[in-house]
Symmetry: C3
Amino acid sequence: MPKPLYLHPDRLFPADPQTRAFARALYDQVKDLSIVSPHGHTDPAWFADNAPFGNATELLLIPDHYVFRMLYSQGVPLEAIGVGNPAVDPRAAWRLLAEHYHLFRGTPSRIWLDWVFAEAFGIDVRLDAETSDLYYDTITEKLGNDAFRPRALFERFGIEVIATTENPIDELKHHAAIRASGWGGKVVTAYRPDPVVDPEFEGFADNLDRFGELTGEDCRSWSGYLAAHRKRRAFFAQHGATSTDHGHPTASTANLTGDEAAALFQKVVAGRFTAVEAELFRAQMLTEMAAMSLDDGLVMQIHPGAFRNHNAGVFARFGRDKGADLPMRTDYVHALKPLLDRFGNEARLSVILFTLDESTYARELAPLAGHYPCLKLGPAWWFHDSPEGMRRFRRMTTETAGFYNTVGFNDDTRAFLSIPARHDVARRIDCGFLAELVMERRLEDWEAAELAVDLSYKLAKQAYRL
Amino acid sequence: MPKPLYLHPDRLFPADPQTRAFARALYDQVKDLSIVSPHGHTDPAWFADNAPFGNATELLLIPDHYVFRMLYSQGVPLEAIGVGNPAVDPRAAWRLLAEHYHLFRGTPSRIWLDWVFAEAFGIDVRLDAETSDLYYDTITEKLGNDAFRPRALFERFGIEVIATTENPIDELKHHAAIRASGWGGKVVTAYRPDPVVDPEFEGFADNLDRFGELTGEDCRSWSGYLAAHRKRRAFFAQHGATSTDHGHPTASTANLTGDEAAALFQKVVAGRFTAVEAELFRAQMLTEMAAMSLDDGLVMQIHPGAFRNHNAGVFARFGRDKGADLPMRTDYVHALKPLLDRFGNEARLSVILFTLDESTYARELAPLAGHYPCLKLGPAWWFHDSPEGMRRFRRMTTETAGFYNTVGFNDDTRAFLSIPARHDVARRIDCGFLAELVMERRLEDWEAAELAVDLSYKLAKQAYRL
Amino acid sequence: MPKPLYLHPDRLFPADPQTRAFARALYDQVKDLSIVSPHGHTDPAWFADNAPFGNATELLLIPDHYVFRMLYSQGVPLEAIGVGNPAVDPRAAWRLLAEHYHLFRGTPSRIWLDWVFAEAFGIDVRLDAETSDLYYDTITEKLGNDAFRPRALFERFGIEVIATTENPIDELKHHAAIRASGWGGKVVTAYRPDPVVDPEFEGFADNLDRFGELTGEDCRSWSGYLAAHRKRRAFFAQHGATSTDHGHPTASTANLTGDEAAALFQKVVAGRFTAVEAELFRAQMLTEMAAMSLDDGLVMQIHPGAFRNHNAGVFARFGRDKGADLPMRTDYVHALKPLLDRFGNEARLSVILFTLDESTYARELAPLAGHYPCLKLGPAWWFHDSPEGMRRFRRMTTETAGFYNTVGFNDDTRAFLSIPARHDVARRIDCGFLAELVMERRLEDWEAAELAVDLSYKLAKQAYRL
């Protein structure tokens, strides 16, 4: 007989009964607040076209690198679950997930997926080999209903605003289409210039060419290249962007003179640069982006510290974003100094820092954000976007940075259906943390109630200027 | 209507009722023990002159870099709160603190300040914009009473002994005056030679000159310079010092031959040295200080790992110690080896290690202190002197170093009025930790009772030889 | 009157009553499962000869570097407790332990020893100065009984299989003798080639000579040296080995061409190599060992990150393994890439990673093991083999690696009598962790029950192919 699937209303709250009661009371005040999703990777085409999603496997398995990396780690071939393999039988691929679903015990993927199964699709039995077909059929059938089209889900999920992420040579046609459609959902873009900023990005030279075409600037000259960024940032802002995003290997910044920067850019354009020069160019560009943010008001996000495409074999066969990115030890205190020397005291500038290296929370990030007016801390990110990860974030940053140098939650996901689940986890964990502070009399109950709303909703809107 | 300010008697204890009851019982045994404050930065002039403190802003806001760094991080200009600005209206500056007091939710500054407000000044409403003037007036008026003069507070706080920190070219006049006054309060100094040991310290050359004048030694020769240290350490010991303190950027030590050290010193004296040589000189001087400690019995404290004056703009306008010091990743296992190769097995030597890099607690510091006879661990320091920080310290050091390779609590503060609050936090957190061990049957209750006294009082006296 | 010694049945369980009840129920299902000890350092001679152990001091104090390092850190000379001093009076040495037993409060050594005292020897009073002789006499007397001979204890402890660790020039005579004896206890070896792989190991050149003699291969040629490894691995496998073990200073791997490796080997053999070349050779050998594991199926363990023999004085007087090994910061993401580039996607290969640097749990190890099919995570190791250490391991690895990329517990000890205590601690802590997940509804109760058995028993058997 299938095991029942039931989402307990007290899930993720602290065990102590009185603390749990505090947490529940706080959560009850915020659980129905609208979702502000200021950073993520959903596809704007979904909302532009409003076409139905495909089957369970296409929607929930193939695009989710959290899920297929775990299966792969236990010997399930990527092809077998459909990654890079359009010929896969989606029902058979789904069965592989079902048969291996015990691997996700204790992981956030399990929490998110169970929410999607139970809340989004109304399934009331657990996923395993026995229920695999039931799941596949139920999900795939529902996806054919209008109630499961992207815009309907957007509204059902209570999303007030969602940001996608595009690069400068994206024409933002989907965003334009969404606006032109008259649909009321607020979908904005964000400016992620890595493909034209990172000399080591695949296709960098071609990207520069396209960047020049789109902007009418000479992107082989330093001044033209900077002008192109300014134009394109303005174009993105017209499509709702309030932020930029930078996914560099490190947090290094630089503060070169104009001549030095121009000379470095010439090497980069010529394709004759060392790894050190590539890093220096990325570093200088963070500072240039900060300078532009001071002018145009775009909030700057820095997401450093991932060793991308670590698995050479997987990269060769399947390409980017296949669950083979790995965190690296990351320095901020030295790395950010050049940028901070120039703009650190500008209260109008807003730079949101993320990390994959939790050892920096208490040692570097909270002390930096607790001093510099331009710095704030993004939420626990990627591998750390999980109950334990979020708790460590609060425990290690709050005492030095406070709550108001953090920016609420963002889901950073391309798994659209999991967005409510992710915000729900964050709200539950934050309410649990606040309840613990109340229980230890480090906060008054009325302060915790205010903070619960701030962390769930207000801070994200303020920090991202949405 | 103002919100009530009330310090709950069970604050900071674990939530579980039985564990909380154990914690309360332990705490009741230690809460009234005298305060031993073996390391800190109070001003000996307070106790020498016993003049009244000024107004609320002068006493509690302007000198407290924990407080004004948080305000600054949220855009409040330092000038507006009186930092480097004698012309500030203190009442208006206080209002800025009051209006932004919610920023401190979840921080130790909030705990310390609320204790000062409630316990030291008897205020029973919370600080906010509405109560700002009430606070300012109440505090400022009370500071005019004899009961709020430094010596009266010293006695009221139950301080058995307090150590200040002076550099070798300080004449220790205030300490002499305290002794000469016949007042019974025990105020001792500590020898912090950074200004004559760190070639990169502001005014290093002038400091050396003054060092020579005070000691009658030729401080431009290596042997004279060492002799000057020996004389000055003896002078400090006469003024009660039982310890030295070293605030280097890293924990690096060196073990040069006499000739090598003398040659390096000549470069340093001549002002012709590289950054690497400056670091090597500081490293060698830690080993020289250890050698002198073996002779004169002064306990050695090493406080490494701060990137001082990180904010170039703030340093240029406001100078040192303006909340812009940041922790750095710190190595101990390699850094201390030269010193340990020479003196590591000397049980008579006592070196107390501190860190701003919590990743070293379990990885390096506890294993070092759990082996070398000369090493002990100082308490959670600076950014980590907080409830969560103290818990992490105990959880990550106890299993390898035990309790008896730690040295109790020290407050390390210049905020005199917060000293009882800081010791109270440490006692509560330690009692909570001990209660958890009892609850998990890792300790017997009578052992926890002994340890509570050890951690609150005895270990600090023993470790600092007070 | 002596204090009672009593092991509480709920020890090490979470404090919250309902969570504790869950933990107890889980633990009751696993507490009597057989012990699988897939990695450790017991002496096979014990089981071959089955001679009685000596006195309390010889058995429990002198060989236990956890214990004597703590005594040494507090000024007790190593000679006085019998380390490197056969002339010590064992009763007097034992008294030093008894008098200093309070130093172990809060440490895992205390937990293990108390279990040995209470459960193995039936003592019901606490160890202190007053009970020192009682302890010494009771233990020493019981060790003379047949019931305390190695094989009897092996059976009484419910050990299903235990692995020892030998180097390639060990003749495995004891293992052969155990098999020849007809005794049913399963004692297997493991292949630890450090003495013939690490050019900086004491006696490396002599070891190579002996390696050649034993295998009949020319161990001064690269191909002969590799052939010798293959032969010797097969010989170890015949003596039950299912694993190899590698204790390198770092986790560095290399992927040299055959010619490069051969040239490097010639430098190593000639004794003319730099520290960098020694490191490169060790790195290359990890990759060579992985290649051989693909052929012969031996599971590969990597135990990196110890700075061995850090205390120069202790090493000079007392030699290796005297409590003076210290953890170092350790990188995995870069270090393992060469090996992973070659074999990372081989699901038949199994490499078990350990660490002394907990900052890598969430940042590097869990993300690596949660992606690469060949990688799994060993349990919390050495300084971290403790209640808090095990909790941190689970809290920081589970959300990204899951449970099934970990390998259960191994005790890694030479302290034979403590083996049941160590497994018991692991079972209690894991059951407590699972109970917390159930309490937060991150797991169903039936899943936790399955996992308790997996973590206590099944995963170790599977991962080590036992």
